[in-house]
């Protein structure tokens, strides 16, 4: 029930904020904050019992649930449920929502009510994605979050906003329609097998469609999530959309929308198709490593600060893809930690770049420089976020990336070794960003305003969260554990089922790949 309230509060808040916007822009901003704080309270009410409880919840991994028949004749149910992963991502959603409102406080001056309407609706769609357990409902939210996001980019964005917004919409829509076809096919496959036509996740998890059909359907899901994540090759919408979006939009895009892709892989692609997923684990991991290196190289080459930060996302989410398909306990936990860490650090960097642009009206690195003397506070914050982003031990990203690499090492030492190069490259682009903007000769004539109290509050929260995740990630790992264990179990079962034959294959594959990689090195 709380999950439903979470959606209702957000949507109702969105409408209220819009109406208030006609009257007073400040009221609209505050109302958005109040809505998100109300969401926060709801989440705490959901989460608090987990801290005190000694045993795992009675309902297995699911902490909260809401189920209601929606479209009877088709077997569609309004089924929401949250487990640890959902909770973590919901918390991130609310947190980054607040950060986005704060980042837009002075930046957005036109149609403020409508802006916050779109922002809250995007968040509501994302919350729906993170909790939907009926595949039709999931797709519904999956599409729904695109529309307000599209408006955020196209109406309040920068110079090339229309092009970027349309590109963003077309890419994601193309991917998700393929997933939709896969969902419909799965509906008939399961319906014919069991006689019950429904889109219920729990029923679908129990039996994977055998043979090539399962493989093709898995591919439909994978492509859709890969566009969102984004996987190298399908990522070209990302730099444009992130760069052209207003700061608040970039925060939501990088911090949350990309996470829906990873969430989809963890929640749907792997559990629904354990065997078929194991088949593409190798290509997916190689794509992940490619993404780590490719994103980092391109980030370094960008003359535009915002584009630079955008490309770092490709690199960081490469680690996530690597971790998810490495499939070991550690790697999966690492991937989940990266989801949170990347949301915080990259979201923070986008806010820094947005604040710079608001003050100096440029994002070009060669027009910036030497800002530390006039903005020491912003410089400090940026340096901290850059260090987090490059994976400094003791900060959040390090924990995640380290776990992923350790977990991957068990499967393929070679890929782990190549992935580790990403650490070096991320140091290069992160420090490059700080160096170009805050150090060196001063290029801007005007003395710019340093961070104000409102911005400092948000940044301190982000920094505190990054530190907490970096030093004491155990609560997060505990929360995600049931899901991770069930994933590892189902993968093991899928591997065990087709008898020893497939096991030998799966043992051979890494060895062969190792030799290949070694000969390359």
């Amino acid at each position: 029930m709380i999950l439903l309230w979470l959606l209702i509060v957000t949507v109702a808040g969105a409408i209220a904020v819009w109406v208030l916007g006609w009257w007073s822009t400040t009221a609209s901003r505050w109302a958005t904050l109040v809505t998100l704080l109300a969401d926060c309270v709801l989440l705490l009410a959901l989460w608090a019992p987990q801290w005190t409880a000694q045993q795992p919840p009675p309902g297995g991994q699911w902490i909260a649930e809401f189920d209601w028949p929606w479209i009877g004749p088709l077997g569609v149910r309004f089924h929401l449920a949250a487990d640890g992963l959902s909770l973590l991502l919901l918390a991130l959603t609310v947190f980054l929502g607040i950060a986005a409102v704060s980042a837009s406080w002075t930046e957005i001056q036109a149609r403020v009510g409508a802006f916050h309407l779109c922002l809250l609706l995007t968040l509501a769609g994302i919350m729906g994605v993170f909790t939907a357990l009926d595949l039709f409902l999931f797709y519904f939210f999956w599409e729904l979050m695109l529309v307000p996001m599209y408006f955020l980019i196209a109406v309040w964005g920068h110079e090339n906003r229309v092009r970027a917004a349309i590109k963003f919409f077309l890419f994601t829509q193309g991917g998700s329609l393929l997933m939709f076809v896969a969902i419909l096919a799965l509906y008939f496959v399961h319906g014919r097998n069991t006689g019950v036509y429904s889109f219920d996740y729990r029923q679908w998890v129990q039996a994977e469609p055998a043979g090539t059909i399962g493989w093709w359907l898995m591919l439909g899901f994978f492509v859709s999530f890969a566009v969102k994540l984004p996987v190298v090759g399908l990522h070209t919408w990302l730099p444009d959309a992130h760069t052209e979006a207003p700061t608040g939009g970039s925060v939501v895009l990088a911090g949350l929308l990309l996470k829906t892709g990873a969430y989809g892989l963890l929640r749907f692609a792997l559990p629904l198709f354990p065997a078929a997923s194991a088949e593409i684990a190798w290509p997916a991991m190689i794509l992940g490593v490619t993404g780590i290196l490719y994103g980092a190289f391109l980030a370094f080459a960008q003359p535009d600060a915002k584009r630079l930060v955008a490309y770092t996302s490709v690199s960081h989410l490469g680690f996530v893809l690597l971790g998810i398909y490495a499939g070991t306990n550690l790697a999966l936990q690492g991937a989940i930690v990266i989801l949170l860490a990347h949301g915080l650090s990259t979201g923070g960097l986008f806010i820094v770049v947005g604040a710079l642009q608001e003050r100096l009206h440029t994002r070009q690195l060669d027009e910036l420089g030497g800002l530390w003397s006039s903005m020491p506070r912003m410089g400090g914050v940026a340096l901290f976020l850059a260090l987090a982003s490059l994976g400094l031990p003791g900060l959040a990203n390090f924990v995640g990336e380290f776990l992923v690499l350790t977990g991957t090492f068990a499967v393929s030492p070679a890929l782990a070794a190549i992935g580790a190069v990403g650490f070096v490259l991320s140091s290069v682009y992160s420090l490059w960003l700080v160096y170009r903007v805050f150090q060196g000769p001063q290029r801007q004539g005007v003395a710019a305003l340093d961070l104000g109290a409102r911005e400092m509050v948000v940044f301190s929260l982000i920094i505190a969260a990054i530190l907490w995740l970096g030093v004491y990630p155990q609560p997060v790992l505990n929360t995600a554990r049931p899901l991770v264990e069930s994933l590892v179990d189902s993968a093991a079962r899928a591997e065990g089922e087709p008898s020893a034959q497939s096991q030998t294959v799966s043992f051979k594959a890494p060895a062969a790949a190792d030799r290949l990689a070694q000969s390359d090195l």
């Binding site: 004749p73 408006f151 196209a154 229309v162 919409f169 077309l170 829509q173 193309g174």
Partner: protein, 485 residues
């Protein structure tokens, strides 16, 4: 024909009587509002009169017409659409100085034709219904004689439509020559048997009937007339062509070819597949090039007929439900879109250049939002009726494993999204500063062709658009109960 038969066809009789009364009324005294009210009452009465055949159950009235759940559902849909078009036309015609009253009479005769089409079970009623509809449309399209585009559009519709009628008649004659009957109940089986035995004549006959239908639905490659006619015709008439005319003919196609079961057998299945693929792709690709919203919607509606063909080709009960649901969603959406265009159209020309729509949200926030909602629905985005329509088309296609058609549908709807988004973003873009300075942009300007009742109808359409998109359960139940019972 007995007295009970006459009682049964009361919905048709009401329409005919309304049309005659309208004509007599005009002869006595011209009154715009009078004719409008009469038309509206006629349509509402016809809608209510549908209860009579509904109560009687599945019933043939002579061999020409059959009032089953299928016919009644589509008649209800068409009459409701006609009500919306009539109301739209009231605001649209009010400011014009041509004769206005005949417009409504022609809407009634066109609806009579549509009603005969969806209940037809005989080639004779098929043809009579079609001609009633088409001849009414000839006049309606060229109604604004003073505008050159309208006359041009009228002729552009007239020539292909007349040609297609010739094709249709010849096809019917050939089929008749082979089977000796024109009643659908007798034809079922006979025709298929004939051409499967290798009768070229029956095959060509069926093919020619298909060509005739293809013209009316503007399927590729019989689509040339669509864009010019959509652009030139008055906006309410365009709405009528896009919804009632196409919907009725598609319902007829489904009934005839569903009964004859030829669409499942080669070579018809292959032909249909090729036509559907071409219609989806070419419709969407040509729409990309348009700078005029009415032309864009013309190509978009061509593409939507292609999507419908996917559902149609899936076959079986699900196909019937899918087509009915799709048409319902498509009707709501299209009427909403043309309702906005009609309301915004001035005296000189219709409001249809994309540049007209730039910054519309500042002048008419409600209409702009409504228009955006209809475009999202055409694009098949959730929360709108169009999403569930597309869902149904895909569902039917996937169930019958029509993978080629399903993937073309997916690909072409991504292409389609591009031009819908282009119009949507124009609505929300700031107007150029030059126009702002010259005072061409007035916030909250008056709606040129608006009327109170038109506003109510638009509001109802918007509600229906969202209701069908959010909570379609009852609608699906109703469709399964009526259409597929």
């Amino acid at each position: 024909m007995t007295l009970t038969d006459l009682y049964q066809i009361l919905p048709l009789a009401v329409l005919a009587a309304g049309a005659i009364a309208g004509m007599l009324g005009i002869a006595a005294r011209r009154s715009h509002i009078g004719t409008f009210v009469l038309t509206l009452c006629t349509l509402v009465l016809a809608l209510i009169a549908l209860r009579i055949p509904w109560r009687a159950g599945d019933e043939y009235v002579t061999t020409l017409i059959r009032f089953d759940g299928y016919a009644i559902f589509f008649m209800g849909l068409l009459f409701a659409a006609a009500i919306a078009v009539t109301v739209m036309a009231y605001g649209y015609m009010r400011g014009r100085d041509t004769v206005r009253e005949e417009f409504y009479v022609l809407i009634l005769t066109a609806m009579l034709g549509c009603a005969v089409l969806v209940s037809s079970t005989h080639f004779i009623s098929f043809f009579v219904g079609l001609e009633l509809l088409t001849v009414s449309l000839y006049v309606l399209i060229a109604y604004n004689r003073s505008r050159q585009t309208d006359v041009e559009a009228g002729i552009k519709y007239f020539i292909p439509a007349a040609t297609s009628s010739a094709f249709l008649l010849f096809g019917m004659a050939l089929v008749y020559a082979q089977t000796g009957t024109m009643a659908l109940s007798d034809l079922a089986g006979l025709v298929a048997a004939r051409w499967q035995q290798g009768s070229l004549v029956a095959f060509i006959g069926l093919g020619m009937i298909l060509v005739g239908i293809g013209f009316k639905l503007a399927l590729i490659p019989f689509h040339f007339w669509a864009a010019d006619v959509y652009e030139g015709a008055p906006a309410p008439v365009t709405a009528l062509i896009a919804t009632a005319s196409k919907g009725a003919i598609f319902a007829l196609l489904l009934r005839y070819f569903g009964a004859l079961r030829v669409e499942m057998a080669n070579p018809f299945f292959s032909v249909f597949t090729v036509v559907a693929v071409a219609t989806m792709l070419v419709g969407n690709l040509l729409a990309l090039l348009q700078a005029d919203v009415k032309r864009l919607l013309a190509y978009s509606s061509i593409a939507h007929m292609g999507y419908l063909l996917v559902a149609f080709l899936a076959g079986g009960r699900l196909a019937v439900t899918a087509v009915a649901f799709y048409l319902l969603a498509y009707f709501i959406t299209t009427l909403g879109a043309f309702g906005v265009i009609a309301a915004l159209s001035g005296k000189e020309r219709d409001f249809s250049g994309i540049q007209d729509y730039r910054g519309l949200v500042l002048q008419h926030p409600v209409l702009a939002t409504m228009f955006a909602a209809t475009l999202f629905s055409l694009a098949g985005i959730p929360l709108t009726a169009g999403f569930l329509g597309k869902f149904y088309a895909l569902l039917a296609g996937v169930r019958s494993s029509l993978w080629l058609l399903v993937f073309v549908l997916v690909a072409s709807s991504v292409i389609g999204l591009f031009y819908y988004l282009r119009v949507i973003i124009a609505l929300y873009q700031p107007v150029s500063s030059a126009a702002e300075e010259s005072g061409a942009v007035r916030p909250l300007a008056l709606v040129p062709s608006g009327s109170l009742i038109g506003g109510i109808v638009l509001a109802v359409l918007l509600l229906a658009l969202i209701w069908v998109g959010v909570y379609p359960g009852p609608v699906i139940h109703f469709i399964e109960y009526t259409v597929a019972r």
